[in-house]
Amino acid sequence: MTVPTPSPIVQMSGISIAFPGVKALDGVDFRLFPGEVHALMGENGAGKSTLIKALTGVYGIDSGRIVVGGVEQVFSGPAAAQAAGVSTVYQEVNLTDNLSVAENVMLGHEVRRFGLVDWRATRKAARTYLEALNLDIDPRSSLSSHSLAVQQLVAISRAMVVDAQVLILDEPTSSLDSDEVARLFDVIRTLRERGVAILFVSHFLDQVYAISDRITVLRNGALVGEYRPAELPRVELVGKMIGRALEVLTELEGSTERVVVDRSGTPLLQAIGVGRRGSIEPFDLDVYPGEIVGLAGLLGSGRTELARLLYGADHADTGETIVGGVSTKLRNPRAGLSRSIAFSSESRKTEGIIGDLTVRENIVLGLQAERGWLRRVPKKKADEVVSHYIEALGVRPANPDAIAGNLSGGNQQKVLLARWLATAPKLLILDEPTRGIDVGAKAEIQKLVADLAAQGMSVVFISAELDEVLRLSHRIAVLRDRRKVAELVNSDDVTTDVVVDLIASGGTSA
């Protein structure tokens, strides 16, 4: 661990930002020293992203001061922040897919000769930057030909080209596997030794403790405190993030007594040889009332594709789907909806939330779509539904007229859950409902799913985190290479290792 020099490179004091209906930041102080990795922690909606956007010039601040390198800054936009040496690498990589690696790294900083771009020199420069991060790839190759992990590293090299003194890594590990994370951490350490100040945001506590020199915790848009990782045990960190007694958390996490589901009657949904060319091979799947069926598999194994067929988001070209004993064709989402099936997509931004509409309109949308445009949901009923779910799911801010796009990721997820629950589904398909969500909200959503199933709702639950799938599911379907390879009844003998083995071996039905 390095000893930070006494003067911070970034000093933010008393930062406040308000959006219509949302007080996103309220007088927050934050400092960042050269040569340190500083983790910014907080629940969804705590104000992490907003603070980062203030520092990178995306949002103007309503009050407070930002001092970078001893100079007070009023950023007019991201370009101004970059000129001051603040670079950001976002969760969703901000690069141009169809350009080459060299072009991406050097974009806007190409080597010029007689006013023209000298591509040979540009590529050479790009290679130097890449090698500095131990990244041995051909600068001429197309960016899209590389994995997301490599793309993250390319984005970091790009940040180095602009000679960043401050590097912000916002959830850089959310879509990387453990080897790739190790590689990213090597790069982060290299940069730290060179005196770069790194702001690191991650939901993975292990990673935060592995790499950070300092931790700042935010809650509800306000500063909780700044700590050294060695002086802050994990439970305390979580307690500070959630701001609630720890027993409640353990109670939420611990309530997992296994219930045996009655599989003697008619299944709620029965898929026989259902498949779609180029998307997922034909599969069989039964879901009984009150049953949680977990789908396990790696990214791209066909989990999402399977779920989309069950809802009618895509239509199957083979097989038969039987809902409640009646054979049905699910041609479009409406068909699924009208048979009391609900599907919450994994991409809440592009396939879930309607950004410019209010929380109320977003929640009522599913109900309204079911009724058709002519029969508007009566205002009284809409108010009831909306206030019920805002309260029950703890949507923050609890303001039905807030613009949904201004809410944090976790709260948008709750709004989407509310939209689907309001349609009173018999089968709820949840694709990665807890991705990018903090511990507290995650436990709340898991508990909600368990409760819904206990009340008789069927759930198809998809998550990249096997722990979560194992904790919740009564039955687990394992997928690999766009094929369902196994199905097993969950019990105490089923551990992550068992499922991982099945995924690895492409095993036979248990």
């Binding site: 396939e351 950004g355 410019d356 509409l357 058709g372 445009w373």
Partner: protein, 345 residues
């Protein structure tokens, strides 16, 4: 924040200011500008004239607002107007009794049916085949006038038919029939979009079509519907226009009206990126454009400078509405107040 500051931030503040300034300037120049008199039981005066002349653009802009709210655009409205006039007037002219109400009604129904088919065609290209709206509607924009020419046999068809003339030149309860027609459809669209869920579903589809589809919204049907509605409103606008001159002029009917309609929608604060729309905004936008054209003559601006003057007003209104300019103006106001600065330690 003071009430005034809040008022200036309202979406329609600057368009309404522009409208008021134009009216005031015209009144200063010609003192009787805002006067309304009663002649032969009808209301007369410049304000009535503005309302009457606005009706055609308002009808077209109504449909355009809905189309734009779904992220689309309809360039074919001018051509649809030409076709509506051509079909209807040709049928009236060829009938034995052009003056009978039944003849006129039947001819108008034929016109509506043809325009309905065009709207269905446009909607099919956009909603089902997924063709970019600007390209899809370009088809009828370019081909439509040719079709109208074929219908009229390349002539400017003129008719004499009292009931048809009433549409544009008649009065009812002292008010111009054209304005009443446009007003009726404006109220109807406002009622249907805001009293049923159609408005919010259109906005939802415009903001995020994929998410809307997954939420169970009939995105395709809704997009299709707005193109049909847009063609129908353009058709009615075509009736008013051809009734005004009692002739079907395929080359000039509704020429460039798509641009005026789009402009009115944008001035009214509906974004071309789709989503939230404002019918009141569109109404204000149309009134600004019509008043502009009328006050140009009153203010004695030379004919050669008319387009330039119109462009200037539009640019100023759009500038004042632009989020960047508004942000800059607000920042300037805030900077005026002194902020204590601490010296960094």
């Amino acid at each position: 924040m003071t009430g005034l500051a809040q008022l200036t931030r309202h979406r329609l503040f600057w368009p309404i200011v522009a409208l008021v300034v134009l009216l005031l300037a015209s009144t200063l120049k010609s003192h009787t500008f805002l006067e309304i008199t009663v002649r032969d039981g009808h209301l007369y005066g410049a304000p009535i004239d503005i309302v009457r002349r606005s009706s055609i653009t308002l009808l077209v802009a109504l449909g355009m607002t809905l189309v734009i709210a779904t992220r689309g655009i309809d360039l074919s409205v001018g051509a649809v107007m030409a076709i509506a006039g051509a079909v209807t007037l040709t049928q009236i002219a060829s009938s034995p009794d052009p003056g009978a109400i039944s003849t006129v009604a039947l001819a108008m129904l034929t016109g509506l049916a043809v325009c309905l088919a065009i709207g269905v065609f446009n909607g099919f290209l956009v909603a089902v085949l997924g063709i970019q709206p600007i390209i899809a509607t370009l088809v009828i924009m370019t081909a439509g006038r040719g079709i109208a020419m074929l219908i009229t046999g390349g002539q400017i068809t003129t008719v004499t038919s009292a009931p048809y003339k009433t549409l544009a030149s008649g009065y009812w309860l002292g008010l111009p029939v054209a304005a009443l027609i446009a007003g009726f459809f404006f109220a109807a669209v406002a009622f249907v979009t805001r009293r049923t869920a159609l408005g919010v579903l259109i906005e939802s589809v415009g903001i995020n079509p994929t998410a809307s589809r997954l939420a169970g919204v009939r995105a395709r049907t809704i997009i299709w519907t707005v193109y049909v509605l847009c063609a129908l409103f353009a058709c009615i606008a075509g009736f008013l226009q051809s009734s005004n001159i009692m002739a079907a002029d395929s080359n000039n009917a509704g020429l460039f009206i798509e641009l005026d309609a789009i402009l009115a929608v944008v001035i009214g604060g509906t974004s071309l990126a789709g989503g939230k729309f404002s019918l009141t905004g569109t109404l204000v936008g149309v009134l600004v454009l019509t008043t502009l054209t009328l006050s140009i003559t009153v203010l004695g601006i030379p004919v050669n400078a008319v387009s330039l003057f119109k462009a200037l007003v539009v640019i100023v209104v759009c500038l004042l509405q632009s989020p960047v300019v508004q942000h800059k103006l607000r920042a300037r106001r805030r900077q005026a107040a002194p902020v204590p600065v601490e010296v960094p330690a």
